[in-house]
Symmetry: C2
Subunit: 403 residues, 2 copies
């Protein structure tokens, strides 16, 4: 039973946050933020699979390996990626500065950055920004914190829920940023989740892995996997539930359901805010031999520029969807493949359905939210991927990003 | 020694061609074409790897397995893909109609189609079109034939060369169509090559495989592998050279060089005509552990919408190139990776080169033809891929294709 609540990532007990303008963003908006648990917390995080992983990813990966962390320090406007040894020094300095101000050990601080690749962090601004943010920490600071991680995002992505664990009321909340360079195995996507549930670090890590696989790793805006992706969760146990210590417990199931809800909601918001997006596309693949095949089929459709531009133009050119199915690499046979868009059956057993009406398809494609369902007829596995269309605006945003 | 000649695909001896308007294209332009060798010819062809392979691909794949063919019949405006059993009947009927008119066996005719997926061929128009085209066959018919395969192409793609094989003058010529749904393992790309060289079918097949791998399979416009791709070569031996019977001969090397030149020239023309393209990008990857790694790195860069829009916008956001390198799946290490655009060194050992000047990069990006070179520092293998940028016009063309 999840109930929406107010208060953002500071809704869970004993979390504080703040975001400040440190001078990196030319707009004058918040660009450095801190999330802080006033008590020790279990921590888990997932990172980009990109081999050019940015310096903050390297630093945070090491820090979180202990299963504990109390603070997350973030900057936007500069990704600190492809910055070599200096980048690593700078990322460590961010953690150090926050740790000093918060009286923590360096290893209790996770670091994240997002923005332009290949440029060194302006460390004087960053350092004073971190100190300012720590001084501003409050249990209502979630809004400025959220603002501090946004780049090309056009709206805020946050949610907070209350639920019960073994009779105790618990809270879980998350924020996310990301609109471009979005592709599974995470994208230029940062997401931070706080909860006052009590849970062992290794169990928290398992829950996060599973939830990420079915949420953030099931979205694609442009097929580009960023250098800086990170989703981190801090669980400080202040709800007072008996700590979750095993996966085969009811409390684990309840916690996982809450975590997955937060991750899925934030992942979908990222797609809705996809750069230049005018449509939200849910791609369901059923009847695959296994999950990997179902996912790769759905991803091939989600990544196809031809499919994405057809939805933008509301052009009922459904053959492009089957074309993507055919090159996805999944086990498929044309004569067993079916396709529906919305509730309209379009292809049955590899060819246009009897009485298929293009004008009805055009009506369905005029909607903002559209579901595409492909049935492969090969097995029982299924997967759902969320993506958006490709518009003139996408080209505009990405042709003018640094200039 | 290759010398450019006039005459298109009818330049090689004893080839005839014609294209006619059969009534499929609404524009009134040519939409059915025939290429014909007046004498028996060795034949080889390569086809799409898409599992939704169109009916004409299935029919031609079977026909060419004999290593012989004398005619190719093509239509544009309708792909005859995802058309089930009826599609197969229709593709066979195309071959039958051409075979009857040319007094050939059905198996001597290759069939190709390009256009919208999922729509049945208008067989009455196709049949009368084929008969009209056969009646119009001539040794100067290369221009109408070429027109008959064009869809969203904005210019003609053809070349013809003369060279010598063992002292005998030989000719080789090719045409191609394709501007969208272009990705290696061929795209909605049709290419037909004629030559009067004498060569054994199995050796012709080997030469075509190698040439395709380094030309058509090294281009990408949008990452979509079409259902209808096909490149076919007919070699009718009328040049009178001693038939090429082995790969380890000088004549094979000379023939292969000519064939590869034709394939590479046509493949590059397809990229130059990429839907909405404003720039031609050559992506060189060197220092890879093997060719597969070099190619997958170059392809990751070529397919990245973020890279492609940055070049369109002449935005010096080079980090996106390294980002694509990082998620390509190839063996890479940031600290060994270098990048140059044009003759400007941008990244050395994973970070911005000393004294790197953004304004110089902007000047380079203003050119129409741009070379990108990534050095992985892992080994000796290299690969070159050609692609284009992503523009507003790409979105416009593909948002309005069927409507």
């Amino acid at each position: 039973m999840l109930r929406k609540i107010e208060g953002g990532i500071t809704a869970p007990k004993d979390f504080k946050a703040a975001g400040v303008h440190a001078g990196i963003k030319k707009t004058g908006k918040e660009d450095v933020g801190v999330i802080y648990s006033t008590v020790p917390a279990a921590a888990a995080a997932k990172f980009t699979t990109n081999k050019m992983a940015a310096a903050p990813v390297l630093v945070s990966r090491e820090a979180v390996s202990s299963g504990k962390a109390r603070a997350i320090v973030v900057n936007s406007g500069c990704a600190n990626a492809c910055t070599g040894d200096q980048g690593l020094i700078d990322a460590k300095a961010m953690a150090y500065t926050a740790a000093q101000a918060l009286k923590l050990d360096n290893s209790e601080v996770l670091v994240a950055s997002t923005g332009v690749i290949g440029v060194a962090l302006p460390m004087d601004k960053i350092t004073s920004g971190i100190n300012k943010a720590v001084a501003a920490l409050s249990d209502t600071g979630h809004e400025t914190m959220l603002a501090s991680i946004m780049t090309t995002d056009t709206f805020e992505k946050a949610c907070a829920y209350e639920f019960t664990l073994g009779g105790k009321p618990c809270r879980i909340a998350g924020i996310a940023k990301g609109a471009g360079m979005i592709h599974p195995n995470m994208a230029t996507m940062l997401s931070f989740i706080t909860t006052d549930a009590a849970i062992k670090p290794e169990i928290l890590n398992k829950a996060l892995s599973q939830a990420v696989e079915l949420s953030y790793n099931m979205i694609s805006v442009d097929g580009d996997t960023s250098t800086n992706d990170m989703v981190a969760v801090l669980a400080n146990g202040q709800a007072g539930n008996a700590p979750i210590a095993a996966e085969n417990s009811q409390t684990y199931q309840d916690f996982y359901a809450a975590l997955k809800t937060v991750c899925t909601e934030l992942a979908q918001l990222i797609v809705r805010d996809g750069e230049g997006a005018t449509k939200f596309l849910e791609i369901n693949v059923v009847g695959a031999v296994d999950f990997a095949d179902a996912k790769c089929t759905a991803m091939a459709i989600a990544k196809s520029p031809l499919v994405k531009t057809a939805f933008f133009g509301q052009d009922p050119n459904w053959g492009r969807i089957l074309c993507a199915v055919g090159y996805s690499g999944a086990q498929t046979q044309p004569e067993k493949t079916s396709l529906a868009i919305g509730d309209l059956t379009i292809v049955v057993d590899g060819q246009a359905a009897a009485g298929f009406d293009t004008s009805k398809l055009k009506d369905i494609m005029a909607a903002k939210d559209i579901a595409i369902t492909v049935s492969l007829g090969q097995g029982e596995a299924k997967a759902t991927v969320w993506t958006c269309d490709f518009s003139y605006e996408y080209v505009k945003i990405n042709g003018e990003y640094t200039t």
